[in-house]
Symmetry: C2
């Protein structure tokens, strides 16, 4: 019995003695058919091993049941986690995830947007609000639902987090501990509004306390552990080195702890470190990392739900801002020793 390469809709229709339209309905909206025909169709379908063709379905319906996600890089705990969360939420609703990364290159991101749009994604998730003008134009004219994450703007739906406040919380914590000379390791600022925001927030807190965070105390690094280490190294090699360092991401903060320890500098006694993200590793560091918790999985989950809501027309341009909070652990401590004396430690026994 040499059957046709692949059973099609018409084959099932013929076999079941109904019209193609009926078979189509049987698959998509079974409630419109009589129980009897429905059964007959299902039987034929099963017997012929029928599998609807996604491409044909996409062409005819205009929907691909696919959502695109373009992240800076897949090689990052943060983005991997957000994609994982999106993926599981989307799967539950019958959607698939198409991923692309741009490695911090705006042109590559624009190209990825163009490609995914051409592939007919039903929705698109992007990181941040800072991108090429052309990219924004593409999105606008395409009309596909878009959701921005971490940072947003008025033009699109967004699932955000207050990055400035994150930087502020980290800095304020150190200020409260008596630190007056604080450094920061951040990612490369251009085309990264998340890192820019965190830096701005830290500066705000310092300024409010009458302090400052000069460029000399800010080290821009690639978003890797090695970046964190070399950022820390640069700061510790300064003539008057900071007593505390903020990592723009936890990975930086962890790198700082490691660099300090490998130099024999004890954390937090010799150097306080605070991060932003609260990745899994942070809680397990020795000492455990004090950090600002960013609800990464929730961003992914909410982004997925927001996109689906837009696709199904339930809402448009929804904005949701997720709460963040400082998680105090043991990598930052009150300033002690010589420096502290200038700030009143002598007034306490």
């Amino acid at each position: 019995m040499m059957q046709r390469r692949k059973a099609r809709l018409v084959d099932v229709a013929k076999d079941a003695g109904v019209s193609p339209a009926t078979v189509s309905r049987a698959m998509a909206r079974p409630e419109l058919l009589s129980v009897e025909t429905l059964q007959r169709v299902h039987q034929s379908a099963r017997r012929l091993g029928y599998r609807p063709d996604g491409m044909a379905r996409a062409l005819a319906s205009g929907r691909t049941m696919t959502v695109g996600a373009i992240v800076p890089t897949l090689d990052s705990t943060i983005f991997a986690l957000v994609l994982q969360a999106m993926q599981s939420t989307l799967t539950r609703e019958g959607y698939q995830l198409l991923v692309a990364s741009h490695e911090m290159n705006p042109a590559a991101e624009t190209e990825a947007i163009r490609t995914l749009l051409a592939r007919g994604v039903d929705g698109l998730m992007l990181v941040g609000a800072d991108r090429a003008k052309e990219a924004a134009a593409l999105l606008r004219t395409s009309g596909v639902p878009v959701v921005l994450t971490w940072c947003g703007n008025a033009e699109f739906a967004a699932v955000t987090v207050d990055n400035e406040r994150a930087g502020e919380l980290a800095a304020q914590h150190l200020i409260d501990l008596g630190h007056r000379h604080i450094g920061m390791v951040v990612g490369h600022l251009p085309f990264n509004d998340r890192q820019s925001g965190r830096l701005a927030g830290a500066r705000r807190a310092l300024r409010r306390a009458g302090l400052e965070l000069p460029d000399g105390l800010v080290s821009q690094q690639g978003l890797t552990l090695a970046g964190g280490r070399s950022g820390c190294a640069a700061l510790l090699d300064l003539a008057t080195r900071p007593t505390a360092i903020i990592g723009g991401i936890d990975l930086f903060a962890i790198g700082c702890i490691q660099e300090a320890q490998s130099r024999g500098v004890i954390v937090p006694e010799g150097l306080s470190v605070v991060g932003v993200d609260n990745i899994d590793m942070s809680a397990h560091m020795i000492p455990p990392l004090t950090t600002v918790h960013i609800p990464t999985s929730q961003i992914g989950q909410t982004a997925a739900m927001t996109i689906i809501a837009q696709i199904t027309g339930e809402v448009t341009r929804q904005h949701v801002d997720l709460p963040i909070e400082l998680v105090v652990r043991r990598s930052a401590a009150a300033l002690t020793g010589p420096l502290q004396k200038h700030h009143g430690s002598s007034t306490r026994p």
Copy 2:
């Protein structure tokens, strides 16, 4: 100037005064056209803002320029890295990456395969060779190029790594250092041939040395840092605790180091630890982790290239096995102290 919602092939053809076929060729095989017509077509295309419709193209050509990848989870340095490598290789060749994860659930993997196949992926990357019978049948009959990673079998193309040897290298290193009582933290064994292989390899090395790795010294854990810690905790709480622990993945080994340190056990003096993977974090641990290097990115890159080669019909069922090697750092040391005395330490001054 209210133009049609979306420029189509025929619109460009009309505008350029050529046939649709010519426009199609201009996009896909420009070398077949005269320079003159080619320019005219490109001009019209640009002016109308023409973007080929991926779905229509897929339906007509039978190709989607999309490769699927189904991994256990996205939330893992390892799989994120492999996907990143695949993604960049595929992008370079004009393909996109469709990802899915199954969270260690065979049924979910089967479902993902079914879905991606229905979506018309041109190729499929899978992790390991251990899966539901039904899944294998789906793959076989679908006829789409498949590439297995880490572990392979004779039925499909594969990019592998010798997991048994990895376990063997780790164990042998500890044996060479004088350890006689070795424990291991591994992932849940069912449906995970990578972990099973590493455990089997470790056992092989021990057996060869006249030692053994009883089930009581093997702790199965979820593939997280916390898993590594609790696995280590379980092993350290044993009546006669091991002097060394092998982590089935680096994350476990790192968790072991952290758990040991948090109990005041010095690594490597009080406990030697060896991992398998060589993730980024490992080199930065204090002490840096001795581990077996698995060329993760290369697996991804090679898998992508293997799939493309199969799609373009260059080869079939290619098998490539990537080399691995022990990276000696400082988390494992020669056995000293009381236990060592039974094995001849007293013969040296």
